[in-house]
Symmetry: C2
Amino acid sequence: MHTQTKLIAFPDYVPQTQRLAEAAKLPAETLKLHSFPDAEVLVTLPATIPRHVILCRSLHQPNAKLIELMLAAQGAREAGAQTVSLIAPYLCYMRQDTAFHPGEVVSQRIIGQWLANYFDNVLTVDAHLHRIHRLSDAIPVHQAINLTATAPMAAFLRREVEHPFLVGPDSESEQWVAAIAAHDHWDYAVGAKKRLGDRQVEIHLPQRDYSQRHIVLVDDVASTGQTLLQAARALHPFAPASISVLVTHALFVGDALAELEQAGVRQIWSCDSIPHATNAVSLATQLADALQQTILAKEV
Amino acid sequence: MHTQTKLIAFPDYVPQTQRLAEAAKLPAETLKLHSFPDAEVLVTLPATIPRHVILCRSLHQPNAKLIELMLAAQGAREAGAQTVSLIAPYLCYMRQDTAFHPGEVVSQRIIGQWLANYFDNVLTVDAHLHRIHRLSDAIPVHQAINLTATAPMAAFLRREVEHPFLVGPDSESEQWVAAIAAHDHWDYAVGAKKRLGDRQVEIHLPQRDYSQRHIVLVDDVASTGQTLLQAARALHPFAPASISVLVTHALFVGDALAELEQAGVRQIWSCDSIPHATNAVSLATQLADALQQTILAKEV
């Protein structure tokens, strides 16, 4: 049925794309990137472009990736693709959705419209939306699908941790921590965050009986890891049995991992939306199911 | 007359923009860039956006710069600008204008159309065009202006070198070396290049009397510097009095400068299209004149 559809992976997203291709029973190929000495990039697509192209890449450290993405998407269209879709399990520039000071450029709207210029559909996971609630409000494409990884994360925890106590460090994490806890009626608590700067936050946790419990700190994205780090430190006085971390998107820039380990965090797990050493939860099945029910359902 | 027009510089292009602003008698401000730990960028424009905005930045090492450029241009438009123009004395992605192998994406056309989505006018200098001859064929904006820096380069050489003998290393450089030589009827010669790879070329020079002459190697852009380096080496057997280098755009990636100096190149000069230690020729007056005669002539 879908012989006219092909996944095309960027070279930095090949294993994930192969797992997704198996789960979705779709063919997959990899495009080539060549950087010239002047830092311009040559994109070479597979020689045969089907009617429906689905480009696969996560968009952490996004700026250079976005230019390569535009060249690949438009190149596929010029080579005959009738629809070009994007699977970007980690999506960028979804945070700045309003101007906090005069002159600030609202990047969410501009990047969203720009994506819509090149893609018919966008599929992502746990996009970090603040003041808007539907991905289609940010990215005006035909189908803008924002999955949540809470089901595979809950299934993973069920295997790994006995009677976990889930802790979301701040109110924004509540949607994820509550959804994961609901799968098995686990205990959970949600802290409060005060942001003092790009790399400085304060976390206050509610008074609960964390003592001798296996705590799992849960969040959608770990960037500098400071939010998780301060949450781990706030847990120490309660003498939990263990502290672990489970996030959807593992950015962990700079020394984030080492700092978490120094703060006594025993295990750090993430979904494979961003290729990272902490990847433990595959999103392939969930992405494949969503693909079948949304983008592929419209393609013949 | 042009109180409704403002130059807005990127932070890496402030001195050049100030010189241009003085020459063009236009106000200039600088926008702000803030990089978050996850490498996303916040662009903050000046609080007051006039009717006509002219963004100023060179586009070497282009990919991340292009995303910032899009955010600034669209942000200016959303803040009320009626026209948004670009002065990019060094323009990127003008070389790949055809597919040499199946699947290769023709970046010139895609980047050109993308620029046209955000800008009303584009002003650049010595864009490296191969198979197309007019910038407007690559960038379908209202006014696409491709100046050549040969006049200020000739004026500079007149002051610096007595009776120079100009050498263009390959046939593509002939347009520049011939134009500069014509200003003062200087001798010039043009070599032939065989490209063996991104960083490997062979240069063959015509038999001329280079002996005891002050040779100036001339080209539009120095990337790895290999073309200039091999040309300098090809000159050695002729025992010239000196070898110098004059280029419009100074990329000089990697060890290019050191290699040229080791090969006996005495002086290396460039225009200020790309901020670089070798900058010796200001393009401000020429850019200001062109601005007055083209983009500003249409604005009221």
